[in-house]
């Protein structure tokens, strides 16, 4: 009895000491991490901000500040009046829209097929479907170029080839994102829908699609962002100057004498992407709050990977 009483305060005090020391150490770690985060943010965002500022330069230099002006945004040589820039922005948006419109439905159906199909070939098929993810984009672009110019003559270089190329490149991303979510949805939900009288199509429409909604949304945002940013495939699959995307224009312009209009066009794309992603994220949050699934069982490594990827996008 006395031993118990004696050991009480001793254990308590030693515990307190450990806790104090741990707190002090954690604070140092926190400082270091905080500093690292700040350095990283400045390092990655400061050049973007500077580039943004130079789009308001009064002169035509992109490195020497000559006063404030809106001429590169509104003037005759500005981003919205120069036909080359304007067409490139429109073309980029067209390509991104088409890429989203094709990859999302296609990728979602493919991942449902791969995820729910229990055949002998289902494993190899899943691996093959995500293979383009690890093939270097340049290799893919060269292969596509060869395919389109030498074999498949009915696909002409330009918008059709660019869309097909981008879809090929983006589809595995959509599959990975959707399959991660799908793996966390037990097939019991579909069975429950069938049990309650829904046809297989009804079970898909009324249960699976709503449960996949966050992944579908994430896929759309990723597809859009990747398409807007894509250079290699878009460049290889392009034909005339009418099928130039913004990254292509920027790349070509920097090799010649570029004006701050270039900065402005880059900003337009950047802001468009960020606004779209933010809007998508807001919708995602709303959808997710509505749901808050506590899914019984079913948490595979695949699911975790998908979830990590899906979340990591932000």
């Amino acid at each position: 009895m006395s031993a118990v009483q004696a050991s009480g305060p001793v254990a308590g005090s030693s515990g307190g000491g450990v806790r104090l020391r741990a707190r002090r150490r954690r604070n140092w770690g926190g400082w270091a991490l905080g500093a690292f985060v700040v350095v990283y943010l400045v390092w990655s965002l400061a050049p973007v901000l500077i580039a943004f500022l130079f789009s308001f330069n009064a002169g035509s230099s992109r490195s020497v500040w000559q006063g404030f002006s809106l001429q590169w945004w509104t003037g005759p040589a500005s981003v919205f009046n120069d036909p080359e820039y304007r067409d490139a922005i429109l073309h980029s948006l067209l390509l991104a829209g088409l890429a989203v419109a094709v990859t999302v439905p296609l990728g979602v159906s493919l991942s449902i097929f791969l995820g729910r199909w229990r055949g002998i070939a289902s494993r190899p098929a899943s691996m093959l479907a995500t293979l383009p993810l690890v093939v270097p984009e340049l290799v893919l672009a060269l292969a596509m170029f060869f395919l389109v110019t030498k074999l498949l003559h009915f696909i002409s270089l330009g918008t059709p080839a660019q869309v097909i190329g981008q879809v090929t490149y983006i589809l595995p991303l959509v599959i990975v994102i959707t399959r991660g979510r799908l793996a966390s949805i037990p097939s019991g939900f579909e069975e429950a829908a069938l049990d309650l009288g829904a046809s297989p199509l009804g079970a898909f429409r009324l249960v699976l699609v709503p449960l996949l909604a966050p992944a579908i949304l994430a896929s759309a945002i990723v597809a859009f962002a990747v398409s807007i940013d894509d250079f290699v495939i878009t460049q290889y699959m392009s034909s005339t100057s009418a099928t130039q995307s913004v990254p292509m224009v920027i790349y070509n312009a920097t090799r010649g004498s570029a004006s701050p209009a270039l900065n402005a066009s880059a900003m337009v794309m950047g802001v468009a992407t960020i606004v779209l992603c933010a809007a998508g994220y807001a919708v995602y949050r709303v959808v997710n709050r509505r749901e808050e699934i506590v899914l019984p069982q079913a948490s595979t490594t695949e699911g975790a990977l998908g979830a990590a990827l899906g979340e990591g996008v932000w």
């Binding site: 019991g188 069975e191 429950a192 309650l196 509505r290």
Partner: protein, 398 residues
């Protein structure tokens, strides 16, 4: 559309193979309309597979399922007048309680008023009327269970299939819902096929119980009968703690059989009293009586108390018999002290009418009394699955 009078299920020679594993092996069951029928057995015995075949999620490898006279072979799950309460509930997380319950009615294109009327009616029945706008994530386990039940019952199916519906709940809630489920079943009069691994649950709620093991049905009978008159050693072991005693059936006696245990002789009146040679006898612990060592009379064997365990409602006493077997006795806690402690010499009274002969044990390895481990007992019973021919498992209406 089948009304409440329907719900008769006929399962004929039903078999399911997964690759080279036979999950369900030629089972025959006849379930009359309005019965609370339980299928009980250890995991992997084929009970859930059987249920899934009735629901239509698995296709039988052979055999037939006949619902109210109609063979279900070519009927997909969404056209069967059968609904399921799933083990993990599977309530749609993106829909609120009301929309979950209305899901099936809307698939039948019922009018808006009809949907509203029937959903609120069933929600009242399962006491969820106040929560119809809640999301599933805002419900407790017991409430989720009720939503799953309401969602299936609102369609007024001919048969309701329940796959371990109480498995995810804590013991106290489970007990409460057992009573509620039974009352509900009597109210609605729908045939319930209830799958569980919990023998107590099956005994408490069912009109009849089927005990399954290794894809076979070992016995189908009312709870009292499967408990008191188990057809096989597996059934005896699975449905509660039991003592298995190995003896030699020697000769006929009055109405029973004379058994030899070493130098002692006792008689048994129940079970396969015509058996001769090495047999296994069963006696439930609550039927075993302990008497002072000086007591005399038939069917008494001397032994030494090895362990006394207080269980709350009763006291469990493990006695090692002089002939080498272990016997567990269960004495109800009536408030008095149990007059035995470890090391005491006692007379163990095994009443002849409570001693049940389980058929010939010839050629079997001496089984250990696996009274705490039904799975291990199951493994033994497999080798002895012979005694019940398939035809005997088809038991008609009481």
């Amino acid at each position: 559309m089948t009304g409440m009078a329907g719900g008769q299920v006929e399962i004929v020679e039903l078999t399911k193979r997964f690759d080279d594993v036979v999950a369900v092996d030629q089972i025959n069951l006849h379930i009359p309309s309005g019965e609370f029928f339980s299928i009980v057995g250890p995991s992997g015995c084929g009970k859930t597979t059987t249920l899934r075949m009735v629901a239509g999620f698995e296709e039988p490898s052979a055999g037939r399922i006949v619902l109210d006279g109609v063979d279900m072979q070519h009927t997909p799950p969404y056209r069967r007048n059968v609904n399921t309460v799933f083990q993990a509930y599977m309530i749609f997380p993106h829909l609120n309680v009301y929309d979950n319950v209305a899901f099936g009615l809307r698939r039948r294109h019922e009018s808006k008023e009809e949907v509203r009327r029937r959903v609120s009616e069933i929600l009242e029945l399962v006491q969820l009327g106040q929560l119809s706008r809640r999301k599933p994530s805002q419900l407790s386990g017991g409430q989720q269970q009720r939503v799953a039940l309401a969602r299936a019952l609102v369609l007024n199916p001919a048969v309701l299939l329940l796959d371990e519906p109480l498995g995810a709940l804590d013991a106290k809630l489970r007990k409460q819902l057992q009573v509620e489920l039974k009352t509900l079943q009597q109210q609605v009069g729908i045939t319930f096929i209830y799958v569980t691994h919990d023998q107590e649950e099956a005994l408490t709620m069912s009109d009849r119980v089927a005990v399954m093991n290794n894809g076979h049905v070992e016995q189908v009978a009312p709870p009292r009968e499967v408990y008191d008159q188990p057809a096989t050693r597996f059934v005896a072991d699975f449905l509660g703690v039991s003592n298995l005693i190995h003896a030699l059936a020697e000769s006929a006696e009055a109405e029973g059989v004379r058994l030899g245990l070493g130098d002692f002789h006792i008689s048994a009146l129940a079970g396969d009293t015509a058996a001769r040679g090495a047999v296994t006898c069963l006696i439930r612990p609550e039927r075993v009586r302990l008497e002072p060592y000086e007591a005399t009379g038939a069917n008494r064997l001397p032994g030494i108390v090895e362990r006394v365990v207080f269980l709350g409602h009763s006291v469990q006493i493990l006695v090692r018999l002089a002939v080498g077997e272990n016997v567990t006795a269960l004495i109800s806690n009536t408030g008095q002290d149990v007059p035995y402690t470890q090391g005491d010499a006692v007379q163990v009274h095994l009443p002849a009418e409570a001693l049940r002969v389980l058929g010939s044990a010839a050629g079997q390895p001496p089984a250990k009394t696996a009274d705490t481990d039904p799975a291990a007992a199951g493994a033994h019973a497999t080798t002895a699955a012979g005694p019940v021919p398939a035809a005997e498992t088809t038991i008609g209406e009481q």
